[in-house]
């Protein structure tokens, strides 16, 4: 993969990473005995395909890379995806159980939060009361000691 902020003199050719990846995958899959011959056949095949369908894997890879590094391309995509989701929500029936589940989950969470608050306050009150009791008993002890003297 070419990195735009690397030394520009030694840039990897556009789309090369994609070709390399494809070649490696096919070699690992086929396990040929003569790798150079296999690679030559592989690229000849790709060239033929390109002439027939005008699909260039290198160009395609270059485009992918470009989109990866120029983030605004993704922003557009996200927006359309969101729109699609909203459309699906408003129209699709399949979505409803999911959203219902989400809502119930949210309610549950609210309940839990409330319960947690209650438990925490109760426990704090308990601790405070314990302390007060201790203080009282300490005072009582001291008084007793004083009486003994």
């Amino acid at each position: 993969m070419s990195i735009p902020f690397s030394n520009t003199h030694y840039r990897i050719p556009q789309g090369f990473g994609n070709l390399l990846e494809g070649l490696t995958r096919e070699i690992l899959r086929e396990q040929p005995d003569n790798i150079p011959a296999f690679a030559a056949a592989y690229f000849e095949n790709l060239l033929e395909k390109r002439e027939k369908t005008s699909f260039d894997p290198a160009e395609w890879g270059a485009k992918l890379e470009d989109r990866f590094y120029n983030n605004h391309a993704f922003k557009d995509q996200e927006q359309t995806e969101k729109c699609e989701q909203e459309m699906a929500k408003s129209s699709g029936r399949e979505e409803t159980p999911v959203t219902a589940f989400e809502e119930s989950a949210e309610e549950e969470r609210e309940k839990e939060e409330f319960a947690a608050l209650k438990i925490q306050s109760a426990f704090r009150g308990h601790v405070a009361r314990e302390e007060v009791k201790k203080m009282k008993s300490d005072k009582g002890d001291q008084e007793k000691e004083e009486d003994n003297e």
Binding site: H9, Y10, R11, I12, P13, Q14, G15, F16, L19, L20, L23, T24, I27, L28, R29, Q31, N34, I35, P36, A37, A39, A40, Y42, F43, E44, L46, L47, R50, D56, P57, A58
Partner: protein, 218 residues
């Protein structure tokens, strides 16, 4: 080794021991050569590799020097690559040469244009094609000869770029004969002076400094 039918983890994939090196050399060659059409070039690279031919790889990276006026995609580095691939034979078959030309992502029109300078059937002396290629790099006959010297020399890059005088005079005569503005007698006298120089000092070799004095010389 055939792969097992069921894959459970990446360790089951058998990586051929020679594969990493092949991929590494391939990548280095690509970075160095900077082909315009990676796919076409890769096909050429591996077909040369599988046949044991010299690879279509530049010795070192070449900065793009083309201007709009002379941009044909052909550079000295690319001619040198072709020279490496073809020079082991005296004659090259034009079909084979055209294939190598295409694999370097050069336009076929340019190839045809070069051949029109000296039409021949299906075989051509490599040295002649090289000379025509150098002259089509642009500039005068002298700059063409400079390119020829830099490609043919055995000296290290940036050195005096010496070549045998016989080769030099052969190419010079050939190129001069194609140029109607240069008369045969002119060529003879020019080569005679150069011959004296080279024979007296450099045991039959001629270098850049003997005939090429920068851009001003014509």
């Amino acid at each position: 080794m055939p792969l097992p039918d069921t894959m459970f983890c990446a360790q089951q994939i058998h990586i051929p021991p020679e594969l990493p090196d092949i991929l590494k050399q391939f990548t280095k060659a690509a970075i160095r050569t900077q082909p315009v059409d990676v796919l076409q070039w890769s096909a050429g690279y591996f077909s040369a590799l599988s046949r044991g031919d010299p690879l279509p790889v530049k010795d070192r990276i070449e900065m793009p020097v083309a201007t709009q006026k002379t941009d044909t995609g052909l550079t000295q580095g690319l001619l040198k690559v072709l020279h490496k691939q073809c020079s082991h034979k005296q004659f090259v078959e034009l079909k084979d040469l055209e294939k190598k030309w295409k694999n370097l992502c050069l336009p076929v029109e340019k190839f045809r244009a070069i051949l029109e300078l000296d039409p021949c059937d299906d075989k051509m002396e490599w040295i002649k094609f090289l000379a025509l290629g150098c002259s089509s790099l642009g500039g005068t006959l002298n700059t063409a000869m400079k390119n020829v010297c830099e490609i043919l020399t055995a000296d290290p890059e940036g050195g005096p770029a010496r070549i045998p005088f016989d080769t030099f005079s052969l190419i010079y005569q050939y190129l001069a004969s194609l140029d109607p503005e240069i008369s045969a007698s002119e060529t003879e006298t020019y080569l005679a002076t150069l011959r004296e120089k080279s024979e007296s000092r450099k045991n039959g070799m001629i270098g850049l400094s003997d005939f090429y004095t920068g851009k001003t010389s014509g």
